[in-house]
């Protein structure tokens, strides 16, 4: 089963990291990612631009485009992982490892129904 691991955090907090702090987190996350990649369990990884760059398409008739992220919450979706896990416990373990490298915030763990690896992406 593939699991999406969604990274949530307070944008104010992450946005006030210095370049060094940001790089430190990224390096620690890379270590976890390398381990998974060696086992052939790591799919695409993405870090998203700030929610201010987001637009939401509401599926009304005609569709309505709104500024901003889907929902206004204290913590925003900053990126996600696609990881091959046996079950929820396994996926939570991966999320815990990632969490240890990245203080605060939360990960949403959710099974993936349809998966497209986007092999043509550059």
């Amino acid at each position: 089963m593939l699991y999406a691991i969604l990274c949530y955090h307070d944008e104010d907090f992450v946005g006030s990291w210095s370049k060094d702090q940001d790089e430190t987190v990224m390096k620690k996350l890379a270590v976890v990612q390398e381990g998974l990649a060696k086992q052939g369990r790591l799919g695409p990884v993405a870090r998203l631009l700030p929610t201010t760059a987001a637009a939401t398409l509401r599926k009304e008739d005609p569709p309505l485009v709104l500024d901003g992220p889907y929902a206004e919450t204290k913590e925003q979706l900053l990126g996600f992982y696609i990881v091959d896990c046996k079950n929820l416990d396994d996926a939570l373990d991966v999320a815990r490892d990632l969490g240890a490298a990245n203080p605060g915030g939360a990960y949403e763990v959710r099974p993936v129904g349809v998966f497209s690896p986007g092999g043509n992406l550059k």
Partner: protein, 438 residues
């Protein structure tokens, strides 16, 4: 407790600051009291967070603790004084935190921060004081940091900020929640202040650029914050896009010796791709609203430069049109001067010169006017006139980097005009920096 651990606490305090100080200001209606309350709350946080872990909502925690500490202070010093309403002394922080966080709903948060920023850009204050006050109160930079950025002594900066605070207190800014009209007026003033902070950092010369970089970074942080509060305001998108696109080039703007590198000569591989991507995404979003304004137009110009992977690919015809639009919404001789650079690329130096000649009386003391004029004259082979223009530019230069840059043109002019055959005149290599944020 290692240093790395406390760094995260400091980051949390920084990010909670605008909201917390804004709420405390609404409560106490006095900048000094609000700031002191916040500082006291931060001290408590540094003591208790490492043991208890950070609270679920740091801003709510800081607001409540700041309020309680300040109220205790009032109790101690003025025993008879009646307390402000809604001052239930809350002893169990954990229980109260959730309830308080609930009360801090989105609109309060937005108005608190807007009010805080608005108070700092009080129209009675000169621009430099507005910026200094905002950096101190909203961003929480220390007086020492601000003094360094402005290249003045700490004492002078302290005095400047104190004076600004006194003026704000005197003016008795209304603390009521702003209405829709008032809010949009305030938003424009606040946006202008963020633009000023950015320019203060951006227009630094090579030797001071590194020192002033934090001003640009704070401006970006504030713009993003403001945009998050007003997600559908195209001009705030435009402003954020503009400063991101400009700042994306910061690593390539100065040579090792501190001299200015013009757009055409910059190493584009040093441009910050992530910032450019964010800026382009924002300006694309803004344009969909079909409510253009000066920030959006300037951002669109910056976007055209950012999109060109080589100088030759720059769409100067489009930039010319955008400057034309900017002249309509924000007529200014400086805008026309910038437009002339695009005109020179599209229709040649004579057309550009014709465009700027009428500006001479208005820009008689403006460094860039003579730099640009000299460059056009040089391209036309009118070297003697070009030399006079460059001399004047050097005399008016604000920074050593600006002067050095013009001197480089002048040296080339002198070198090229030595008799050495028929084609001695300088050719098309006089360049001027287009789309400068100013």
């Amino acid at each position: 407790m290692s240093e790395a651990d406390t760094a995260w606490i400091e980051t949390a305090l920084t990010s909670a600051r605008p909201q917390a100080v804004g709420a405390l200001l609404r409560y106490f209606r006095d900048l000094d009291t609000a700031e002191e309350a916040f500082q006291n709350a931060c001290l408590r946080a540094l003591k208790t967070w490492p043991q208890n872990g950070p609270p679920r909502d740091p801003a709510a925690w800081l607001i409540m603790v700041g309020r309680n500490v300040a109220i205790d202070e009032v109790r101690r010093t003025r025993k008879q004084q009646p307390l402000p309403e809604d001052d239930q002394a809350i002893s169990d922080l954990d229980d109260a935190e959730g309830a308080l966080a609930e009360r801090l709903d989105g609109s309060h948060y937005r108005d608190d921060i807007l009010r805080l920023m608005f108070i700092c850009c009080h129209p009675g204050l000169p621009a430099t004081q507005q910026i200094a006050l905002a950096l101190r109160i909203v961003c929480g930079l220390t007086v020492k940091q601000i003094a360094r950025a402005f290249l003045v002594s700490e004492a002078a900066m302290e005095q400047r900020i104190t004076r600004a605070k006194a003026k704000v207190a005197e003016a008795g800014t209304p603390f009521e929640t702003p209405g829709a009209v008032e809010r949009s007026e305030r938003l424009a003033v606040v946006a202008a202040m963020i633009y000023l902070i950015f320019n203060e950092g951006y227009s630094a010369s090579g030797d001071t650029a590194e020192i002033r970089k934090p001003l640009c970074e704070e401006a970006i942080r504030l713009a993003r914050l403001l945009l998050r509060l007003f997600q559908s305001e195209p001009e705030i998108m435009g402003l954020t896009a503009l400063i991101l696109l400009q700042h994306a080039r910061s690593a390539s703007r100065f040579a090792a010796d501190g001299s200015l590198i013009l757009l055409d000569d910059q190493d584009r591989s040093l441009w910050n791709g992530t910032m450019i991507a964010e800026g382009l995404a924002l300006i694309d979003k803004a344009i969909r609203h079909r409510r253009s304004g000066p920030y959006q137009i300037q951002a669109a110009i910056a976007a055209l430069h950012a999109r060109a992977s080589t100088p030759e690919e720059t769409d100067w015809a489009q930039i010319d049109l955008l400057y034309g639009a900017l002249e309509v919404v924000q007529p200014s001789p400086v805008v026309t001067l910038n437009r002339a650079v695009a005109v020179s690329k599209v229709r040649g130096p004579q057309a550009a010169l014709d465009l700027i000649e009428p500006l001479a009386p208005k820009l008689a003391n403006y460094f860039h006017f003579y730099g640009v004029r000299g460059a056009f004259l040089m391209q036309l082979g009118r070297n003697d006139e070009a030399r006079i223009a460059f001399d004047r530019a050097i005399a008016l230069a604000n920074t050593s980097a600006e002067a050095a840059h013009i001197r480089m043109h002048l040296d080339r002019l002198i070198r090229d005009s030595q008799p050495k055959g028929a084609n001695g005149g300088a050719r098309q290599d006089a360049k001027v920096e287009g789309a400068k944020v100013k």
